[in-house]
């Protein structure tokens, strides 16, 4: 039990209607249990029409959103919590919007001088109005093959396709547009795939050890992410000291550039020469049994439940300081 928390129940928000509902429910259950193990009072809730009444009916609640995709990551939920004056763990609405939309967050990070793959973001209307053939050709010339096509707003690698030639591009675009009307086409970066979690404690940004990802199939897709045994995780990653430091610096820099708060997870690919390339950052990282953030927390010697509790306390302290 921590020292008498002054806030009321912690409302762990999970589920929602996004394509990642299943992951979110699993993450939410894990966070809720970890907080209960810390002696905290926890209420679990889905995003339902009764949520506003629930929050209003509690004394001094603190929200812990664990929603992946959709309104949980695009700032919508955070905006509602701000309107209701309910303190919450995580980034503010505008920062969520910047980060969640790869077509916005990617260029912002690139403009700040951080390494990014070549990228183009196109709504499907452009293809319809201008004709697909010319645009597909231009994408091939500008981005080059192999490339990655993905929905601009989404996670868990849903709708992502690695495309090796121009013939594969149209179906990959259609797959990405199945998840939303904006798609991102990005240069495929060869190298070591790592994830660096950044946590903010007592005003300090702390990069946790990089988790190296080696999927059995070679592709870190949905199955590889959420099936125990399908991916090998190495933490700290097998990087040189210089590369590890560069990854940590990159994750912290992206966190700052995007104006994030409390916690984030940067996905990075380290080129064979040791240069890290920023792919994207997540404002609501997965918290499931196979997710990267809990592994990084453990490797850093932190207790997952204690960290969650500290993030709640930080949110409450911010609220009191307002």
């Amino acid at each position: 039990m921590t020292d008498s928390p002054t806030h009321g129940p912690i409302v762990v928000l999970a589920g929602g209607l996004s394509h990642e509902r299943d992951v979110s429910l699993r993450s939410g259950r894990r966070v809720a249990q970890a907080l209960r193990d810390q002696g905290r009072e926890v209420v679990e809730s889905d995003l339902t029409p009764g949520l506003v009444d629930l929050l209003r009916g509690l004394d001094n609640p603190v929200a812990f959103p664990v929603l992946h995709g959709g309104v949980g990551e695009d700032g919508g939920l955070q905006q509602v919590l701000t309107l209701l004056d309910v303190p919450y763990v995580g980034s503010e609405p505008a920062a969520c919007r910047r980060s969640f939309n790869k077509a916005v967050g990617g260029p912002l990070v690139a403009q700040a001088g951080l390494a990014r793959p070549r990228m183009a973001a196109l709504p499907h209307d452009m293809f319809r109005e201008l004709g697909a053939a010319a645009l597909v050709e231009a994408l091939g010339e500008r981005i080059g093959f192999p490339m990655i096509v993905k929905p601009a707003r989404g996670g868990s690698a849903l709708g992502c396709t690695r495309v090796t030639d121009v013939a594969g591009l149209p179906s990959a675009m259609v797959a990405a547009y199945s998840y939303g009307d904006l798609a991102v086409v990005e240069e495929f970066v060869e190298g070591t795939e790592v994830a660096v979690t950044v946590v903010e404690l007592d005003g300090t940004l702390i990069p946790l050890p990089a988790v190296e990802i080696r999927p059995n199939s070679g592709i870190y897709d949905y199955t590889a992410r959420y099936t125990a045994g399908e991916t090998r995780f190495i933490v700290p990653a097998t990087l040189s000291e210089e590369a590890s430091t560069a990854c940590a610096d990159l994750a912290v820099a992206a966190h700052r550039v995007l104006g994030l708060r409390d916690l984030s997870r940067a996905d990075i690919i380290v080129r064979p020469d040791g240069t890290p390339v920023f792919i994207e950052t997540n404002v609501a990282p997965g918290m499931t049994e196979t997710s990267l953030l809990p592994q990084a927390v453990e490797a850093a010697g932190y207790d997952f439940g204690l960290l969650c509790a500290q993030l709640v306390d930080n949110a409450w302290a911010r609220h009191l300081a307002q």
Partner: protein, 438 residues
């Protein structure tokens, strides 16, 4: 690169990863399956699951009957029971089967935990890894899962609006035999087939029985929906036409309620003995309390009248779905017209892929089951199964409206990108949607 640090953690997060049996290969989390997580939210019209609508059961009267059962017979009802199933239950099952013209003896009935377990027991008793099981193409996803679990090779036999194609069945048997394959049985759902809703005609049934006799082919007849006929009298069950070559599977899930998990198999004597011993090894005995409860229901309630009530309710829903499809499906879409059961099988316009467009459908708050789930060989991309059993007629109409919009958007996307008419084959069968429930 520096050397790995001693404290480095290198893990696949599953210490038993190298210990699992070969048959578990491919039991992985799937993106397609995960998309169904939203299907049970009220905002979504789910035309995916096959849950019966049991809201109209006389629940208060049932509660009193169960209360009395516990008070008066609780020590027996909550005790272990017979591995074959309770004798009174088997007698009642014989009565139920007589409704479809099956003459049977209670000694040849084995009660199981739903007919799904009956299928499991039959497969366990007959099939070694690599044995061939024939099934209609498409066939019930839960059966394909069972066959896969026993490492059978599923060979689909083509079907049309009259049921399984006898010419294709003969050809498959000849060619498999010539290839040295061991065909263990044909699995078939003659009435309102899952997933197509198609009913085998009487003529086809006779041909099928003839072929089975000619080729010494055991037939597994799965008949969960037979009494839920919506337009005509039930056709005779295959088992009623041949007691020696047919193992029959039945269930109370659709004519009463699925939560009791009581099904059965009716098998020739020698087979039945093995099924009982296998059942005892698997579960000791089927759920005893459920058998008491169902027997009470059959004894004290007008279950035949309840089936008529179910038929009227499902008829309205079937008609709503057919109306909705006629109103909202784009040109080039076709569908079956079921005379009973729960399902309509939709064939999409050329080039569309039901699995690829599922995320768009979920975003539009409508869910269906992708056609690929019902094939063991990667086919079915152009198909989807729609269930009319659970949502109200109004919701069904709304669901088809949303689905129509999704199809229009998908067609426009295909036109934009000039995609061809070839649909994909998906081999990620283990990653298909959840079986028959949502």
């Amino acid at each position: 690169m520096s050397l790995p640090e001693p404290s480095r953690r290198d893990t696949r997060l599953d210490p038993y990863i190298d210990a699992y049996a070969e048959r578990t290969h491919g039991l992985t989390v799937s993106a397609v399956r995960a998309l169904f997580a939203v299907a049970n939210r009220p905002e979504v019209v789910s035309l995916a699951g096959g849950m019966p609508n049991i809201a109209d059961l006389p629940r208060e009267a049932l509660a009193k009957a169960v209360d009395r059962l516990i008070t008066e017979n609780g020590t027996q009802a909550m005790q272990y029971g017979s591995g074959q199933g309770e004798p009174f239950m088997r007698e009642k099952i014989v009565e139920v089967m007589a409704e479809e013209g099956i003459q049977a003896h209670a000694d040849d009935v084995v009660v199981t935990c739903g007919s799904q377990q009956a299928l499991d027991l039959v497969t366990r008793v007959f099939c070694d890894p690599g044995d061939v099981v024939l099934a209609e193409g498409p066939s019930y996803v839960g059966a394909l899962g069972t066959f896969r679990a026993y490492q059978c090779e599923v060979v689909h036999v083509a079907m049309d609006e009259h049921g399984i194609d006898p010419v294709a069945l003969r050809a498959a048997l000849v060619s498999l035999k010539a290839g040295g394959k061991r065909v263990k049985f044909l699995y078939t759902i003659p009435n309102f087939q899952n997933p197509t809703g198609v009913t085998q005609t009487l003529e086809r049934r006779r041909e099928l029985i003839d072929i089975a006799r000619e080729h010494d082919l055991l037939v597994i007849e799965d008949n969960p929906y037979g009494l839920l006929t919506l337009d005509a009298e039930p056709l005779p069950a295959l088992r009623s036409m041949d007691a020696d070559n047919v193992v029959y599977l039945g269930s109370f899930s659709k004519i009463f309620a699925p939560g009791f998990r009581v099904g059965w198999t009716l098998a020739p004597h020698a087979v039945r003995e093995k099924l009982v011993l296998t059942q005892e090894a698997a579960t000791l005995c089927p759920p005893v309390f459920s058998q008491f409860a169902i027997a009470t229901y059959l004894e004290e309630f007008d279950w035949r009248s309840q089936i008529v009530t179910y038929r009227d309710m499902y008829r309205q829903r079937r008609d709503a779905m057919l109306d909705g499809l006629a109103q909202h499906m784009p040109e080039g879409t076709t569908w079956t017209v079921p005379q009973g059961g729960f399902f309509v099988w939709v064939t999409l316009p050329e080039g569309l892929d039901s699995q690829a467009m599922l995320p768009r459908a979920i975003s539009a708050r409508v869910a269906y089951t992708t056609g690929t789930a019902f094939y063991a060989d990667g086919l079915g991309s152009r198909n989807m199964r729609l269930s009319f059993c659970y949502p109200t007629p109004e919701r069904i109409i709304e669901g088809t409206r949303r689905l129509g919009e999704v199809l229009e958007q998908e067609l426009e996307m295909h036109r934009t990108f000039g995609l061809g008419t070839q649909t994909a084959r998906h081999y990620d069968l283990t990653t298909g949607p959840a079986p028959d429930i949502t």
